[in-house]
């Protein structure tokens, strides 16, 4: 595992969980890519019916080849960007903190952290037929401090993750019992 570019683990810290969106969203992108890739074949079949000489002409063939190449390279890049977006939207849960990495487009990403002992409430929400069948939903982590709450849409198995985060937070809070910080946030 190589996450040293995202954050530095403390000496006593280890990764407990990596949370990503449900793989069904990756499959959805793949289906979209296949559909987009099939469109030119459909157009070619249509052209063969309407104007067969267009697909064999000495000038039309290079034109179609260049346009086709641009089209396929564009959708290939689009698909790869979708995969990278899926790959880089991640929550890393360690025994000490929760790190949320959100990739926004190609050139920007947000990395936020929350101490586990500050976790006040974790809620999971599974809404709809497909979410129930494939077990994905929204996970929200509420902080006791002034930091913004964390939300993760379409994560895989939000119920079990919620239980795990609550257990880890409870475990981590033991190390902060009686500390000034804990009293300050009202825990």
């Amino acid at each position: 595992m190589n996450i040293k570019h995202l954050f530095k683990l403390k000496s006593y810290e280890h990764v407990e969980m990596l949370i990503r969106k449900h793989p069904i969203f990756l499959i959805g992108n793949l289906v979209l890519f296949i559909v987009l890739a099939a469109i030119p074949f459909g157009v070619a079949m249509l052209l063969q019916q309407v104007s067969p000489t267009l697909l064999t002409g000495s000038i039309s063939v290079p034109i179609i080849a260049v346009l086709g190449s641009i089209y396929y390279l564009a959708i290939w890049l689009f698909f790869f960007s979708m995969v990278i977006d899926y790959y880089l939207d991640i929550w890393v849960v360690t025994n000490d903190r929760l790190i949320a990495v959100e990739q926004q487009g190609l050139f920007s990403r947000t990395i936020s952290e929350m101490d586990l002992w500050l976790v006040q409430d974790v809620s999971s929400e599974i809404k709809g037929i497909s979410a129930t069948i494939f077990s994905f939903g929204k996970l929200s982590v509420q902080s006791a401090g002034e930091k913004a709450n964390f939300h993760f849409e379409n994560c895989h198995g939000p119920n079990s993750i919620r239980q795990r985060i609550l257990a880890l937070a409870e475990e981590d809070r033991k190390y902060h019992v009686g500390s000034v910080d804990l009293k300050k946030v009202g825990l």
Binding site: M1, N2, I3, H5, L6, L18, R20, S58, I59, V61, P62, I63, I64, A65, V66, G68, S69, I70, Y72, L73, A74, W76, L77, F80, S81, V83, I84, Y87, L88, I90, V92, V101, Q103, L106, F107, R109
Partner: protein, 80 residues
């Protein structure tokens, strides 16, 4: 229309494609987490890109570009 003009949008598109690809590949490499192999992902992307380029070459290589460029110059303001 001279045929070589077609290559202009292609030559504009390719550097843009290259820049975006490099950013994507760099992101995948720098922020790899081991969930599934970033190396495999990158390799698959490069292989796919090479495949598309090869197919394009397969279609474009029989074209006599020298002749079409010549024809293009002949009928363009350069040839006048």
């Amino acid at each position: 229309m001279p045929l070589w003009i077609l290559l202009i949008p292609y030559l504009i598109f390719l550097p843009i494609f290259l820049i975006f690809s490099l950013v994507d590949l760099l992101n995948a490499w720098r922020f790899r987490t081991g969930f599934f192999s970033a190396s495999f992902l990158m390799l698959a992307y490069l292989a796919g890109t090479a495949g598309i380029m090869l197919i394009t070459y397969h279609f474009l290589s029989p074209v006599d570009w020298l002749q079409t460029i010549g024809a293009g110059i002949k009928f363009s303001p350069l040839g006048l």
